[in-house]
């Protein structure tokens, strides 16, 4: 059965069916928990029940006596095996924060792995976990990062005042003067709660040690990084590690780098005679897979009496938990650098401080710097309300226009190829903003509270730096003329297989049904940094372009020789080489491949046998900028505090689209994660550091009844680079929280409510309304 549209002139830009779907729809995908190895053992972690405790004696004798238990490992067994521990994206020279495999000496959050039980069966392993007796001596924890800075109680002794690092500094004298003298000096503190990527598939891996080779099956966004990282941990060569992933059930940043449990399982596997599987359960995932977004900013913006921004400053503080991954200090700078956003802000500054707490690790999550947009866009709405100006009008007076580009913002971020004014206009036209304002006024007269909120942002995608700056592809046109494309992979729902097949079919003039792709096995795929940083579209397009151009030249040469035509007259289309203007003169790809492999005497002079090529793409620019505007309307029930989102519009400029279905799917998924963050999701701790949201009954993900129909608008400005493509994976999660917060705040503005703290649960909204009375 053909599930893809074949015979098209061009596949890029069309809504072709996904090549992933046939197996995933029928239960035949291969996620890590679906992999079984002969003799495989199962692991389960003993985790600290205390936010902070000295770890005393660990007595595993009762656990080891349980039939089926094969081993119990502690820090003493595993941690000495760690040779080097650092992430390729960061390099080994950053002042990295601590990251032991197993908790050693002290447990630093509830869920900190203290011991590892290995048994013949997961049920037995879980039984045995209950039998491991750990002598804990509880210590006072640092639970609230916001008050932890400068305190005497320390998460890590080596970090005075609990500060892992700080970048930037106080506002310059010029900026201070501009803010002090502005007609409107708006100063707020905005707080965001901890929430998390929460992929539907938890983390997991199987590690199989053969004596001098480690094979790992895992759920990852970046198989090659898992390979490099674990090779360093074990002190073996990169070529002694093979990492395999086929299907990964979502990542959103959580699976972009291996974490402490991955180290433990790989280390334990080297001490066992059989493969070892660990599949995280949901409770562990919500306890220990990390959190994001927990931060606040003291923000200040000066606006003149004509509504022009004269300066902006953010003093940003983020919770990094006990064992952040990766090093969080450098990445936080993006919050400050991007705080001016798509606006004309002549003077700006920032400081960002990363503070430890005895909670789950800060990890990457889709648009890790999104607080810049939340803080700026919420501040703009509050400023507009205080000034007495429509928030759209305030934005329009300050949004960068096309003729101002390229434009370096006041922190030096060099924007180019963006269209923030256009996306805002398009989204507001889709809404009919004026009509909504009329409807809102009528509703208010009738005692109903409707609101509209927006967010416009610019977003750096596809970083061209070091580890992320290159991507390779190998293309094999097989002897039959069928095509396999090999790229690093790391697809976690973002349709990299489909995208690569589309791009390759076009690059070689092949029928899409003749193209397949192999991804996610480090033994056969070229190095690549995987899914992250909204990089895959542009980078894979570059890799396919570079490699396909080598093969195109060869196909054309062989075809021209065969058809006795000039190479300049050969075109490749529908898996045939044809002589332009002479439709009858053609040779199939299958025939060319047959010649290339098996009839070398028919090859033109100087052309080698075979039809296989490898090449690498080097990013053409340090960053590809994308942008979008989100517009949300809602109704708030002022009695119950319930928010109903009525319309949700995203106008985005990601350049030309490889596959509009995939683009819109990314926007929708990211936006709904952002809606969840604004309204529901909260990885909350009590004052003793006990996590209170460790099931899906407590950690509330949006459901189908919570989300609106998302409407899409596209503005298409090509980026520098292959195909003009920009990144689109992360943006939805950046734009949604401020749009939702602003919509709720707009609805409640008549009641005098000002919103500066998330999430907007019904209880929080009722509290806001009551305290405004």
């Amino acid at each position: 059965m053909t599930t893809i549209q074949t015979g098209a002139a061009r596949y890029t830009g069309t809504r072709v069916h996904r090549v992933e779907d046939a197996r995933l729809l029928t239960g035949r995908g291969t996620f890590v928990d679906d992999v079984t190895r002969p003799g495989m053992l199962h692991a389960c972690f003993v985790r600290s029940p205390f936010a902070r405790a000295r770890i005393g004696a660990i007595d595993a004798s009762a656990a080891l006596a349980l039939p089926g238990v094969r081993a119990v490992f502690t820090a003493a067994d595993l941690n000495p095996g760690v040779h080097e521990q650092w992430y390729t994206s960061m390099g080994k020279n950053v002042p990295d924060t601590p990251r032991p495999a197993m908790a050693e000496g002290e447990a630093r959050f509830v869920g900190d792995p203290v011991a590892l039980v290995v048994a013949t069966d997961r049920y037995v392993a879980e039984d045995a976990v209950e039998l491991v007796d750990v002598d804990y001596d509880p210590l006072p924890p640092v639970v609230d990062y916001a008050t932890a800075q400068g305190g005497d109680t320390l998460v890590h002794e080596a970090y005075a005042g609990n500060v892992a690092g700080s970048l930037g500094g106080p506002p310059s004298d010029d900026l201070t003067a501009a803010l002090d003298n502005a007609a409107h000096d708006v100063h707020l503190t905005i707080h965001q709660q901890a929430y998390a990527p929460v992929p539907m598939e938890t983390r997991g891996l199987i590690a199989e040690w053969s004596g001098d080779e480690l094979t790992v099956w895992t759920a990852t966004q970046a198989p090659h990084e898992v390979r490099m990282f674990l090779a360093r941990v074990l002190g073996i060569g990169e070529h002694q590690v093979r990492v395999i992933m086929r299907d990964t059930g979502g990542g959103f940043g959580e699976k972009v780098i291996p974490m402490r449990e991955d180290m433990c399982i790989a280390l334990a596997a080297t001490k066992l005679p059989a493969p070892l599987k660990w599949i995280e359960d949901r409770r562990e995932n919500l306890l220990a897979a990390g959190m994001s977004r927990h931060e606040h900013g003291d923000v200040r913006m000066g606006i003149d009496d004509e509504g022009r921004i004269v300066g902006a400053y953010i003093d940003h503080t983020q919770d990094i938990g006990a064992y952040p991954a990766p090093w969080p200090v450098g990445t936080a700078a993006a919050v400050g650098m991007l705080f001016p956003g798509p606006y004309r802000v002549p003077l700006a500054g920032f400081r960002t401080t990363s503070v430890f707490s005895n909670t789950s690790a800060r990890i990457a999550y889709r648009g890790p710097w999104q607080f810049e947009s939340l803080a700026r866009e919420v501040l703009l709405d509050i400023a507009a309300r205080r000034i007495g100006m429509d928030p759209i009008e305030l934005r329009r007076r300050n949004l960068l226009q096309r003729d101002e580009l390229p434009y370096a913002n006041a922190n030096g971020m060099p924007y180019s190829d963006v269209t923030p004014a256009e996306t805002l206009d398009q989204a507001l036209a889709m809404l009919d903003y004026d009509a909504f304002r009329r409807e809102q006024a009528e509703a208010r007269a009738a005692g109903r509270y409707l609101g509209v909120g927006t967010c416009t942002y610019v977003e750096p995608t596809t970083t061209g730096m070091s580890y992320y700056g290159t991507e390779g592809a190998t293309i094999r046109i097989e002897p039959s003329g069928k095509i396999n494309v090999y790229v690093a992979g790391g697809s976690t729902g973002n349709s990299l297989e489909t995208a690569v097949v589309q791009l390759t079919a076009d690059a070689l003039g092949a029928d899409i049904a003749d193209v397949r792709t192999i991804q996610g096995d480090t033994a056969v795929t070229p190095f690549g940094a995987g899914t992250g940083g909204s990089r895959s579209g542009s980078m894979l397009a570059g890799a396919v372009r570079e490699t396909a151009s080598l093969l195109r030249a060869k196909l054309v040469a062989i075809a021209a020789h065969q058809l006795e035509a000039s190479p300049d007259d050969i075109e490749l289309t529908e898996s045939h080489a044809r002589v332009r203007g002479t439709p009858t003169a053609s040779v199939s790809l299958a025939r060319i491949a047959d010649i290339a492999y098996f009839k070398p005497h028919k090859l033109p002079p100087g052309i080698d046998v075979g039809l296989e090529a490898s090449a690498r793409y080097r990013a053409e620019s340090p960053t590809i900028w994308a942008n979008a505007s989100h517009v949300c309307t809602c109704e708030v029930d002022v009695t119950t505090g319930a928010v109903t989102i009525d319309r949700y519009i995203v106008s985005e400029d990601c350049g030309p689209m490889i596959n509009p279905n995939v683009v819109e799917g990314q926007i929708a998924g990211g936006s709904v994660q952002g809606i969840g963050g604004a309204l529901f999701e909260h990885l909350v701790y009590d004052e003793d550091g006990n996590p209170l949201a460790t099931t899906f009954m407590d950690y509330l993900l949006p459901t189908a009844t919570d989300v609106p129909v998302i409407e899409y608008g596209h503005i298409e400005t090509p980026a520098p680079g292959p195909g003009g493509f920009k990144g689109v994976g992360e943006g939805g999660a950046i734009g949604a929280p401020p749009a939702v917060v602003n919509a709720v705040a707009d609805a409640l503005a008549p009641l005098g409510v000002e919103i500066t703290r998330l999430p907007l649960t019904p209880a929080a909204i009722v509290d806001l309304i009551e305290s405004a009375r």
Binding site: G27, P197, R282, G665
Partner: protein, 171 residues
């Protein structure tokens, strides 16, 4: 407690085994039957990824013990399409409307929707949303899933009828 003998029908085939009483139906299907399309997303009955049909009713296989399925009929995601790989109308609608991304939650959705459309062949939009609200998806924002169910509901419902306990989809 010793193992218990069970015999059930799985996707139309007899399945017999001696199982521990605490073995979940999900683990039985995945580990004993090799039917790994039933996925475990939470193991506490909220996410719906492990949904299967038990005598035609959608249930969470993580909340059912294998012994409770003794003598009953189970249909998993692997049993919904045609034997030659043809997609059911619900599966095809998910493909046509980008109703899946990573695919981890997808089997649970397809199973739940299959039962939902059998019982509600002409649902309103709100009924569809409520019907979907027992399954969690983190990738799609439910946009493609909703569109897929809307489209599948518009088609003939004959293709979605699955073995069951005598529920008459036409009544």
């Amino acid at each position: 407690m010793g193992d218990i003998e069970i015999e059930l029908q799985v996707n139309g085939e007899a399945s017999r085994a001696a199982v521990p009483p605490r073995l979940t139906l999900a683990d039985y299907l995945r580990e004993r039957c090799g039917l790994t399309g039933t996925h475990l997303g939470c193991e506490h009955g909220v996410c719906g990824a492990c949904s299967v049909l038990l005598d035609g009713e959608a249930v969470r296989a993580c909340l059912v013990f294998a012994v409770q399925a003794n003598g009953r009929e189970v249909t998993t995601i692997e049993g919904l399409g045609g034997p030659d790989g043809d997609l059911s109308s619900v599966q095809a609608a998910f493909r046509d409307h980008h109703g899946l991304q990573c695919g981890f939650c997808t089997p649970g959705f397809v199973v739940s929707v299959t039962a939902f459309l059998r019982d509600n062949p002409d649902p309103t939009d709100q009924q569809i949303r409520e019907g979907l609200s027992g399954n969690l998806c983190r990738c799609t924002g439910y946009q493609g899933i909703f569109a897929a169910v809307r489209a599948a509901a518009g088609e003939s419902t004959t293709a979605v009828a699955v073995g069951g306990s005598g529920t008459d989809p036409g009544s």
